[in-house]
């Protein structure tokens, strides 16, 4: 990943226009997760920052959040003509496109409202409709037996795959029409009003509401919760099974494949993780990795309101304005751990098949994936060698980006990482109101 | 203003029209000027490669003359070819 360019203060170099931007939102609507969010435990005290500490933990229900999300999406549509929104809902084990409606669906509400911009109205009513439909389907599934599906984690991989396919479909490839959008073709300086349309820029925003890692567990504790049941129905090992937070077999690989595809297509994956630290002390490391690898923005809500402001402040600027000129919040420490293919444990030290690069938690004579045989003699040696490897401590934070010269440093406490993320976007965050406080809509 | 030829600080003022052009056009102007005599000369001062100073009353005439001169030197394709 290229480091962000050095801060440039020359406002003349700011972009005059940006290409239209397509925002793909993946909304985790897993019912269990939202029930947790709607009755949060008291917030963890936050003594470094009294203004934030004063704010109470805010219960967040899905309807409340969707209202905020709609305002944010409207702001995205408002910020440029030609901006578009695509929304996927990810529920237990399945994902569905909520907006735009399929082409054969009835076209929106019959009548425009006099005080709403029509595209906003279409979007909002369709999201509401889509969510209700999806909730009804879930209800249906529950009533027809299949209680187990509720315990499946949200289908992030499915939603991500759909989103990437969507992007692939809307972006013109190397065809005749691609020549039309070739930016090089429009560089003719004598053609100020060249009508070759700009290639839209795309980004994915994952809104995670499920505590624990999405894929297996991400805790540093040794209690790993494995997939409850393999696809072929066999229990993987004798560990205590806990379905929640687990993932279907292949989920890790699927997620990582999506991430690498997104990375290659230069689609940033932004991640907003809703479960506050009081519910879930450990961040969802694989989503964090996704954001890190694709140069997206990762941020975890502190559970104290202010979501609307955070959405606007962190996630609204399109990729073409990020880094230059807008500051992006620095990432918290990213754990680059992987999951083994055999037991779905999160590993610090793994053993990799030299042929197919599969990861295992212990040396194996035969690779489970590609069936390559390894000399059995080498196994004890590998095991001994592995004990010499020191566990690499996961740093609390990544080194902070260069602080603008002369900027206030007194409030940027070393271990105060969340505050730093905010400080970078909001500047001096010590104002009396504090950005962490809930913001009322008047 | 100039107080005697010995004065190192004397200044000479002239009013007229300053012409800025490319050096090719300038050469044509010089040529036009050299074809004229006495009061009909329009050039006051040859300043440098791209500037000259001329008399105000000749400006429009000079523009037309230059245009004609340029027109003579332009190749016009025979439409029948």
């Amino acid at each position: 990943m290229a480091p962000p360019p050095p801060p440039v203060t020359d406002y003349k170099s700011y972009p005059k226009t940006t290409p239209p931007s397509v925002l793909l939102v993946i909304l985790d609507i897993h019912p269990l997760s939202w029930s947790l969010l709607s009755s949060p435990p008291p917030a963890i005290p936050y003594p470094e920052h009294p203004a934030i500490d004063k704010a109470q933990a805010t219960p967040m229900t899905l309807p409340d959040f969707v209202t905020l999300l709609m305002v944010f999406l409207n702001a995205h549509l408002a910020s440029r003509w030609g901006n578009e929104v695509v929304i996927y809902g990810a529920s237990a084990g399945r994902a569905k496109l909520l907006y735009p409606p399929p082409p054969n669906a009835v076209a929106g509400p019959s009548k425009p409202r006099p005080n709403t911009y029509h595209p906003f109205q279409l979007l909002d009513s369709r999201i509401e409709e889509g969510l209700k439909e999806m909730a009804a389907e879930e209800q249906d599934r529950l009533e027809h037996g299949d209680m187990k599906t509720l315990n499946q984690p949200p289908a992030m991989v499915s939603a991500l795959t759909k989103a990437l396919c969507f992007i692939n479909r809307i972006l013109p490839n190397n065809s005749n029409s691609a020549a039309l959008v070739d930016p090089a073709a429009t560089q003719d300086p004598s053609a100020p009003a060249s009508n070759a349309p700009d290639k839209p820029e795309t980004r994915i925003l994952v809104i995670n509401s499920t505590p624990g890692a999405n894929v297996s567990t991400a805790t540093s504790s040794n209690e790993q919760s494995n997939a409850e049941v393999n696809e072929n129905g066999t229990s993987t090992n004798g560990n205590s099974q806990n379905g929640k937070g687990g993932q279907m077999r292949g989920g890790y690989v699927g997620l990582m494949n999506c991430v690498f595809a997104a990375q290659k297509a230069k689609v940033p994956i932004d991640v907003l993780s809703l479960p506050p630290p009081s519910i879930d002390a450990s961040p969802p490391i694989f989503l964090q990795q996704a954001a890190h690898l694709t140069e997206g923005i990762y941020w975890q809500w502190n559970g104290r309101g202010g979501l609307l402001q955070y959405l606007h402040a962190l996630y609204l600027p399109p990729p073409s304005l990020r880094h230059h000129p807008f500051a992006v919040p620095p990432q918290d420490a990213v754990g680059f751990r992987a999951v083994c293919f055999c037991h779905h444990k999160t590993l610090d030290i793994g053993f990799v098949c030299s042929v197919c690069l599969s990861i295992f938690c212990e040396p194996r004579p035969v690779c489970l994936m590609c069936k390559t045989r390894f000399p059995i003699k080498s196994i004890p040696t590998l095991k001994t060698l592995a004990t010499y490897i020191e566990h690499i401590p996961i740093p609390d934070t990544v080194p902070p980006p260069p602080i603008p010269k002369g900027a206030k440093t007194h409030q940027q406490n070393e271990n105060n990482k969340r505050e730093r993320a905010k400080g970078a976007t909001n500047g001096d965050a010590s104002g009396t109101g504090g950005r962490g406080e809930p913001i009322e809509i008047d | 203003m100039s107080s005697g030829y010995e004065d190192a600080y004397r200044v000479k003022l002239t009013s007229g029209v300053l012409v800025t052009c490319d050096s090719a056009a300038k050469q044509i102007l010089l040529h036009l000027d050299s074809m004229r005599d006495g009061p009909y000369k329009f050039m006051i001062r040859d300043v440098d490669d791209t500037h000259m100073m001329i008399k105000r009353e000749y400006v429009e005439e000079i523009k037309e003359l230059l245009q004609d001169e340029l027109e003579k030197n332009t190749y016009v394709q025979d439409p029948n070819l």
């Binding site: 910020s79 039309l180 053609a191 009003a193 | 007229g16």
Partner: protein, 492 residues
């Protein structure tokens, strides 16, 4: 220094005027308005939305960033957002926010600790919030017309054709007056003709004083020719601004009408609206807009109206978007390096415009073949059309096929040649001057400095000790020279 690089006309200051945004006319108009005018405008949510979109992206996102905050924006916030050095001067921060300040969205002021803060305009903030949440009450996005469900309504295609015909009719009338080429044109209505006269796009040549013009005998002016070559959205905004300045001198009324323009721009093509309930304050202006094809009314006195694509595309702020589906229709020109032009069109208006600077040789039902030649281009330039306008017309109408060859789109030979022809017209730049000949280097340098400081200097030739100054500053400069002379002489 007198021969700039033709291939990069952007470095040429003269071209900057042609590469402006489609809403240039609107921007200039708004730049000259006062606080109270904006207060009036920002009562409408549609205006807030459109004004927000017209800001440059950086500025726009800073406004959105701060939209839901209780605190006014502070300089330090902007600096840290934009990763600016803390030492950066206030002017630079101001410069970034300049567009928003000009639109009276932000009011920079010093707070108690003499730090700069940027409180936002309450009306704007409220309007924009309401636009996003849909909680406004001004009906600025248009009240739909109550009609029976089975009523016969025109489809989008029909509306587009209607709008296009109405507006092109006016343009055709303008072209035909200038060319004398015979194609049948309907004379636009009297109000339209009046506006064309007031705006200076057309004049009555037999009435040079402009006292008593005959509206039926007008011909197009050089301003009118330039207008024809603009892209559609620019033309629309120019016409609207002429209308606004001509008809609505009263600033309160003018704000109401302008906010109606923005509302129209936010409406939905194919939807019908109620005129009396949407724009109670601007009914007559709405009627006038019908003459330009902005709206369609099924019956002349009906309350029901349909905005056409001309209206709904007003606020898209995106040249490509206005064309929308008919983009391909507008891309009909193939220009070869041998100056031959093939235009795949049968649109009378486009052919007439081409005829301004192209020598048309062959006409087929759907194809026109012609040649860019010196004679025609120069005659177009006599009419006041510049090389940059021709070039931007050619490139914005270029056939998709032309994008297949390696860039640049138009061959540099042709672009350069057009610029050369343009420059040929005025190879001489003349300006009145007073020449000062010096004999003392010291005096020369002092005077040069003085002249430069007073913006009186036209040219200075140090090795010959010539100074050329603006004639109107002659008195002041001679005064200075005399003073210096005395000083220098007494120095001995």
């Amino acid at each position: 220094m007198v021969q700039p690089s033709f291939s990069h006309p952007r470095s040429d200051p003269s071209s900057s005027s042609t590469s402006t945004s489609p809403t240039a006319a609107l921007d200039t108009f708004l730049d000259n308005q006062h606080q109270s005018y904006f207060e009036e405008l920002y009562k409408s949510e549609a205006v807030c939305l459109c004004i927000l979109r017209s800001l440059p992206p950086v500025c726009r996102h800073i406004i959105l960033h701060n939209l839901w905050s209780h605190q006014p924006l502070r300089t330090i916030d902007i600096k840290s957002l934009l990763q600016m050095d803390i030492q950066v001067s206030l002017q630079d921060v101001d410069e970034v926010m300049r567009p928003a300040i000009n639109r009276k969205i932000l009011h920079p002021l010093l707070n108690k600790k003499s730090k700069m803060i940027y409180p936002s305009n309450d009306a704007f903030k409220k309007g924009l919030r309401n636009a996003l949440t849909g909680l406004g009450t001004s009906n600025s996005f248009g009240v739909p017309f109550d009609r029976e469900d089975d009523a016969d309504i025109p489809d989008q295609q029909a509306l587009e054709t209607y709008g296009e015909d109405a507006f092109e009719g006016i343009l055709k009338y303008m072209v035909s007056s200038g060319l004398g080429v015979g194609f049948p044109v309907a004379r636009p209505q009297m109000e339209v003709l009046e506006l064309l006269l007031i705006s200076g796009l057309m004049v009555d040549p037999s009435d040079p004083s402009g006292q008593n013009p005959n509206l039926n005998r007008m011909t197009i002016t050089s301003k009118g020719f330039q207008f024809l070559l603009e892209d559609r959205q620019t033309q629309l905004w120019e016409i609207l601004m002429y209308y606004l300045t001509a008809k609505e001198a009263n600033s309160e009324r003018s704000a109401v009408v302008l906010s109606m323009f923005f509302s129209l721009g936010c409406m939905q093509l194919g939807q019908d609206y109620s005129a009396s309930r949407s724009f109670p304050g601007a009914l007559s202006a709405l009627n006038d807009l019908a003459q330009y094809g902005f709206i369609y009314r099924p019956a002349p006195e009906s309350d029901q109206f349909f905005p056409t694509h001309l209206a709904t595309a007003l606020c898209s702020g995106d040249a490509a978007a206005t064309r929308g589906q008919d983009a391909d229709e507008k891309r009909f020109l193939i220009l070869e390096t041998n100056y031959k032009i093939y235009a795949y069109t049968s649109n009378e208006l486009e052919i007439a415009i081409l005829n301004l600077f192209v020598d048309i040789r062959i006409r087929y039902p759907n194809l026109v073949v012609g040649k860019l030649d010196r004679k025609n281009v120069k005659s177009a330039m006599e009419k006041g059309i510049s090389a940059n306008q021709i070039i931007s017309y050619l490139s914005s109408h270029a056939h998709p096929q032309m994008y297949n060859s390696p860039p640049p789109l138009l061959h540099p030979t042709i672009v350069d040649q057009l610029h050369l022809w343009d420059r040929e017209r005025n190879r001489l730049k003349t300006e009145d001057t007073v020449m000062l000949e010096f004999f003392s280097k010291e005096l020369f340098e002092d005077t040069e400095k003085e002249a430069k400081a007073n913006a009186a200097l036209q040219l200075s030739i140090p090795n010959q000790k010539f100074l050329f100054i603006e004639p109107q500053t002659k008195a002041a400069i001679t005064e200075f020279v005399k003073e210096r002379q005395t000083q220098l002489r007494s120095g001995f």
